[in-house]
């Protein structure tokens, strides 16, 4: 009994203390993975904030953005131009989604809009592969995948770039949505379509803005994930990892998506490295979901979500 207790509660911490440089490397790996989750989660949060809809297709939007970018580059388009074109495609997609999916469903129940995004998910998946092919592709936009040593700690340049990019993106988004009148309009739209219209908020414009921004976030996420593990169908499955992040951070909070992502990322790396051997590994695969489950039981609105208030 004491043996087990020691192995779980004491030994891992001794390991950490024994090799601080390695611990820092593990933490950095965790932060990187966490920021990647955050990037995907951000796309969900944006759309959820603006329309109260859980966009099932966000993961596929990441895949679609990455596929478009790679597809263009394979055809010999220079990186900068390809990036510009991909952005244009994602904005155009936002317009099309607003016109063909959202506008006909104004004032419908949220579950109906949710179902519509499931349809969107399958459409984008099929359309992306039809247009650009289904093979695994290598994405290289010129960020070197090299490592260097800082004070005995190994740092990967690609991971560092990704982390900085996400951080900048997050700050810009947080400021945009909290400080500008668009932010207030956005929350108004999410809360009540009819009332938002009556105070003069054009729903169409807000939706196009939000889906465009979600598309841009998808591009960044697609580039980062694609550069790391290749552009392939499984990219759309990272959306599944974004779910626990959302539950942790709260569906409506931009900072929540970041903090949630970091907790999940760091937590699963630490768990895998230090506690993994005790249970035969693979903690990384289920850690996020267990944390999410615990949160659902204790604090369903997440760390930063708006309190759920129900009058009875």
């Amino acid at each position: 009994m004491t043996e087990i207790l020691r192995a779980v509660a004491v030994a891992p911490f001794q390991d950490m203390a024994g090799s601080p440089a390695f611990l820092v490397e593990v933490l950095i790996g965790g932060v990187f993975a966490g920021l990647m989750y955050s990037l995907v989660a951000l796309g969900f949060v944006l759309i959820f904030k603006a329309s109260g809809v859980f966009n099932f297709a966000q993961g596929v939007m990441v895949l679609f953005a990455a596929l478009t970018l790679v597809g263009l580059m394979e055809r010999g388009v220079p990186v900068a131009v390809a990036l510009g074109l991909t952005t244009a495609v994602m904005v155009a997609l936002a317009f099309v989604i607003e016109r063909l999916v959202l506008r006909p469903l104004v004032n419908q129940e949220h579950i109906i809009l949710f179902m519509a995004t499931i349809g969107l998910n399958f459409f984008l998946e099929g359309f992306g592969e039809m247009a650009w092919g289904a093979n695994v592709k290598k994405l290289d936009i010129g960020i070197p995948d090299r490592s260097f040593m800082v004070q005995g700690v190994q740092v990967n340049e690609l991971e560092l770039t990704a982390a900085l990019t996400s951080a900048v993106l997050v700050v810009i988004l947080a400021v945009f949505f909290h400080r500008t009148r668009i932010g207030r309009a956005l929350r108004a739209v999410a809360d009540d379509h009819e009332a938002a219209l009556s105070v003069g908020i054009p729903l169409k414009t807000i939706w196009v803005i939000v889906w465009s921004v979600a598309g841009l976030v998808a591009i960044v996420a697609g580039i980062m994930w694609g550069a790391k593990s290749g552009v392939q169908f499984s990219l759309s499955l990272i959306a599944l990892k974004a779910l626990p992040v959302l539950i942790l951070g709260g569906f409506t909070s931009v900072p929540g998506a970041i903090v949630g992502g970091l907790i999940i990322g760091v937590g699963e790396k630490l768990g895998e490295v230090y506690w993994g051997p005790l249970v035969g590994g693979a903690i990384e695969n289920w850690f996020a979901y267990v944390v999410a489950l615990a949160f659902l039981l204790v604090r369903p609105q997440g760390l930063f979500g708006e309190r759920i208030i129900e009058r009875v």
Partner: protein, 262 residues
């Protein structure tokens, strides 16, 4: 103060019909609302009162007839375009942003008045900062006016119904509307709340000079606040005039009580 013999109509509804499939909700309704007056729209349930309001505020579009606001044809405008022209409204079932604070709810009423660069807004600096403060000042005036200072920070969804109605009115007033449309502002209120609301409606009219069209069932309230009454029944206008006269009109009594005078 010398008044013109006949004040110019602010809103003219000319032969408007609204249909939902085979159901004719409004049939060739015409009415005028003069600048500065309080006009009550009454009628039995299903008479088309809310439909009329929705047509004026752009939520429905009539299949025939015209809606003229400040001398221009506004028949086909969308809700947010109508709002931009200076028409604010409240809803029969309160439509507040329930998760947002009372203050934020009322601030949304001023979105249309805000201008300028997002960049400056984001930095909360320069003209954007002054603008935000000016809007806040006006909103505070509305809050004082409607006596809701104490609930400024409360999420709207947590308020009792009567107060929600008042916040909704505050949001509409924050837009400084020329025409204010109130859909049953006193539904579900007790006597005291109704008296408060009647007083606010009269004060808004006299203090801000706002023209008001309201739908109301309580005849006592209608008699107290309105300058003129329009009566709808089965989607048609059946009477119109000063409250005292309309109340005695046999056609109106028929519509409400369903009895014959023969």
């Amino acid at each position: 103060m010398s008044e013109p013999a006949r004040p110019a109509a602010l809103l003219e509804v000319e032969g408007v019909s609204v249909r939902f499939g085979a159901l004719v909700a409004l049939y060739q309704v015409s009415l005028e609302i003069a600048r500065g007056e309080i006009c009550a729209i009454i009628g039995p349930n299903g008479a088309g009162k809310t439909t009329l309001l929705n047509a004026v505020s752009g939520f429905y579009h009539p299949y025939e007839g015209r809606i003229v606001f400040e001398g221009r044809d506004r028949t086909r405008l969308r809700p947010y375009e109508v709002a931009a022209l200076g028409v604010a409204r409240t809803f029969q079932n309160v439509a507040l942003f329930k998760g947002m604070s009372v203050l934020d709810n009322i601030m949304t009423g001023r979105l249309l008045k805000m201008r300028g660069s997002f960049l400056l807004e984001a930095l909360h600096w320069g003209p954007a900062r002054r603008q935000e403060l000016a809007h806040r000042a006006f909103v505070e005036r509305v809050i004082d006016f409607l006596e809701i200072q104490a609930i400024r920070k409360t999420p709207a969804g947590r308020l009792p119904y009567g107060l929600q109605k008042r916040v909704e009115l505050a949001r509409a007033l924050a837009a400084e509307p020329t025409l204010l449309l109130l859909d049953e502002p006193m539904a579900g209120m007790n006597v005291e709340e109704k008296e408060d609301m009647s007083r606010f409606i009269l004060d808004v009219n006299s203090e801000f000079g706002t023209t008001i069209a309201l739908i109301e069932h309580d005849m006592g309230v209608v008699m107290d606040v309105s300058d003129r009454v329009v009566v709808l029944d089965y989607g048609r206008k059946i009477a119109e005039g000063p409250p005292e006269q309309v109340r005695k009109d046999p056609v109106v009594v028929d519509a409400y009580l369903g009895v014959s005078h023969d």
